[in-house]
Structures are given as structure tokens and as C-alpha cells.
């Protein structure tokens, strides 16, 4: 009984650990430039400023607003991932995994808020997933050319 409980706890913990590590390894993929900047500016996304303020001033007290900002960015970016410069109009396996991871982090953030423990790391993790999504969208958009301008430049000067 004790052994089975031990195996259950250990294996369940390791299962979530491996999923988290896999997602983080995918998120560490290097892009040849910061594609996310143009997407952030064109769509007025808020996660970079949120991350900056978190890193400088720590966690703000306004949790509902923070959650709403992240949720809106998440919805906008997942829409763009599926529809902008994506001929297949569907997510790749890697994107699906990261979307699931993102949803898991939203749940984790809510739980951490209730427990008043470790909200900042969860928020930063969410911001890093959103930055990855913005980079992927930016890289895709960048490959589509409008005359001498890339789509990203076009969006930027709108």
C-alpha cells in the first residue's frame, strides 16, 4: 500500500515535470531575430509591458486586470497563429501542446492566486509562451512579401 502510494505520487509528479520541461525546451527555440516586436506593436499586445513591470516592480495587486490582459493576448495570438499566413489554417502539433500548456498555466495562476503563492513565476511563464507565439506568427508573416515590404513592416506602419 505504502509502495503503491509512493509510486503514484512520484510518477504523477514526474509526469507533470516532464511535460513542463518539454514545453520549456520547445519555448527556448532561438529565432534569428525578434519577430514578436512587430506583432506586439501591430496588435497592441500587452504581455511585454506586463513582463517588464513584473520584472521591475514585482506582482501587482490587480489580479483580474492582469489575467484579462494575458487572456486577451492569448486569444489574439492563437487566432493569429491559426489564420495569419498559415495556408493550412490549423495549428501544428507543437502549437497544440503549447496551447494546452498555456491553459494549464492559466489554471495554475488561478490556483496560485487563491493560495497567494508564486503568482509571479506562473505569469512570467505565460508571458514567455505568448512571446513564442508572437515570434512564430511574426516569422510566418515575415516570409510573405508585399512589394518591397514584408507583411510585418506593413502591419508595423499601419
Amino acid at each position: 500500500m505504502v509502495t503503491a502510494t509512493l509510486v503514484l505520487v512520484l510518477s504523477a509528479a514526474l509526469f507533470f515535470f516532464y511535460i513542463q520541461v518539454t514545453c520549456q525546451k520547445i519555448l527556448r527555440r532561438q529565432f534569428d531575430r525578434e519577430y514578436f516586436q512587430s506583432i506586439v506593436k501591430a496588435n497592441r499586445l500587452e504581455f511585454p509591458s506586463l513582463r517588464k513591470s513584473l520584472e521591475e516592480f514585482g506582482m501587482s495587486a490587480d489580479y483580474p486586470r492582469l489575467r484579462m490582459m494575458l487572456k486577451c493576448d492569448f486569444l489574439a495570438l492563437t487566432y493569429l497563429l491559426k489564420n495569419s499566413a498559415n495556408l493550412k489554417q490549423r495549428y501544428s502539433g507543437e502549437e497544440r501542446l503549447l496551447i494546452l500548456y498555456c491553459r494549464w498555466q492559466f489554471l495554475s495562476l488561478a490556483a496560485r492566486h487563491l493560495l497567494k503563492f508564486g503568482e509571479e513565476p506562473a505569469t512570467l511563464r505565460l508571458a514567455s509562451v505568448l512571446q513564442y507565439f508572437a515570434n512564430v506568427v511574426g516569422q510566418r508573416v515575415n516570409t510573405v512579401q508585399f512589394g518591397n515590404w514584408t507583411a510585418a513592416d506593413y502591419l508595423f506602419y499601419l
Binding site: M1, A4, T5, V7, L8, S11, A12, L14, F15, F17, Y18, I19, V21, T22, K25, I26, G93, E94, L97
Partner: protein, 245 residues
Amino acid sequence: MESNFVQYVVQDSGILIEAALIFYLARTSKWRGQGAVAFYLSSLVVGQLTRACFLHEYGLTSLRYYYAYWSTDFLLVMSAFGVVCLFFRRACWREEKIWRLIRIFLVFLLVLVAAISGVSLSLNRHDFFTYFLVAFNQKLYFTCLVLNTLLYLMLHRMNSADDQLELLVCGMGIQFAGPAATLALVHLTYGGRFAKWLAYQTIPLCTFGMLLVWAYVIVYVPKTAGGLGRRDPPLRPVPAELSKL
């Protein structure tokens, strides 16, 4: 019925992905770099196809299917152990001394698991399959999970530059940890219905998850140049006086 359907869809998609990955490895001549992956994928295909054939021929409750299931399970667990050993070898490519120690440790663990499982057999000699093979498979499976985690920690400590290997190990971890947790739950609830249902869903899903991670590694993650060196430490900043020279 519906849950069975989902389970079969996941299982069959798994076999398709395995076959596709083997085909991709063969077509792109990546067999050499990914020998361990190709070996495990081939074992999975052989194991799952054998089970499917026996299930189709003799039915779920037949004794032949029971023997085929546990024999293929033995094949799969031994392959998993072999893959973990090959991953250890890959991690210690340039560390012959460490590899020699690890090799002895791995052989010792295998013998230990067989000996502990042998105790069950000595108590019940009439049924080799139930008392030895099942116990051996379960113990070796959990040992593989522990070894896989040790390997991950070792890679982390060695600051390995082999991103491919790290992700392959993570995929293997998902494959080991999910089923181990649900099977422990089944054991704890004395074969409760929900626990059994969860196990039936989780096991193919975890294999599917591992295959997706491995597919991502094989297709998208480039192999580190020179294979398996450590990540170079960052260069020390040059003092201002020296940089002016």
C-alpha cells in the same frame, strides 16, 4: 463503447506515427544518429501489431492473447530498458570512465530486478507468466522511469549541449510516468472502475505524447555539431584595459 473507440483511434494513430517515423528515419538516412529511437520504435510497432493480430484472431479473453500480451510487454519493457541504456551511452560519449561505472550499475540493476521478481516465482512455481513476468515487467518499468529521471538530472548537471537527447529523454519520461501513476492508482483502488478506465485511456495517450515529442525532435531539432559535447561556458569579459590594447 465511445471511450473504447477513442482508445483504439489513439492506439492506431500511434502505430501510424511509429511507422511514419521509421520510414522518415530510413528515407533521410538518420538511422545512424538515432539508432536508439529507431530500435524502440521498431519494437513498439512489432509489439503492437502482434497484440492486434492475437486480439483479432483469438479475442480479448483468450489464453493465447493473454500470453501474447505479456510476452510483448516483456519485449517492450526490455526495449525501453535498452533505450535508456543507449541514451546513457550517448550522454557519456566522451566520458569513458563514467560510462564504465554506469554500465556496471545498469547491469546490476537488471540482475537485481530479475532476482526480486524471482522471489515471487519461487513462491508460486506453477505460473511463470503471472508471478514472474508480470512482476518483472512492472518493476523494470518503474526502474526505467527512475533511470530516465537520473539521466535527465545527469544531463542537466553535465550542462549537455545535446538538445535532442534532452527532449528524447523528456518524451521517454512522459511514456514511463503516466502509465506508472495510473497503474499504481489501479493497485491502490483494488482495480476500481474509474482507475481502470483512466489507465486504459492514459497508457495509449502517453505513448502518443512521447511519439509527438520524438517526431518533433527528429524533424525539427538539429543534432548538435560534434554530437554530444558540453555547452561551452560563457566567455569571460575582457577587462577594459586589455580591450584597449
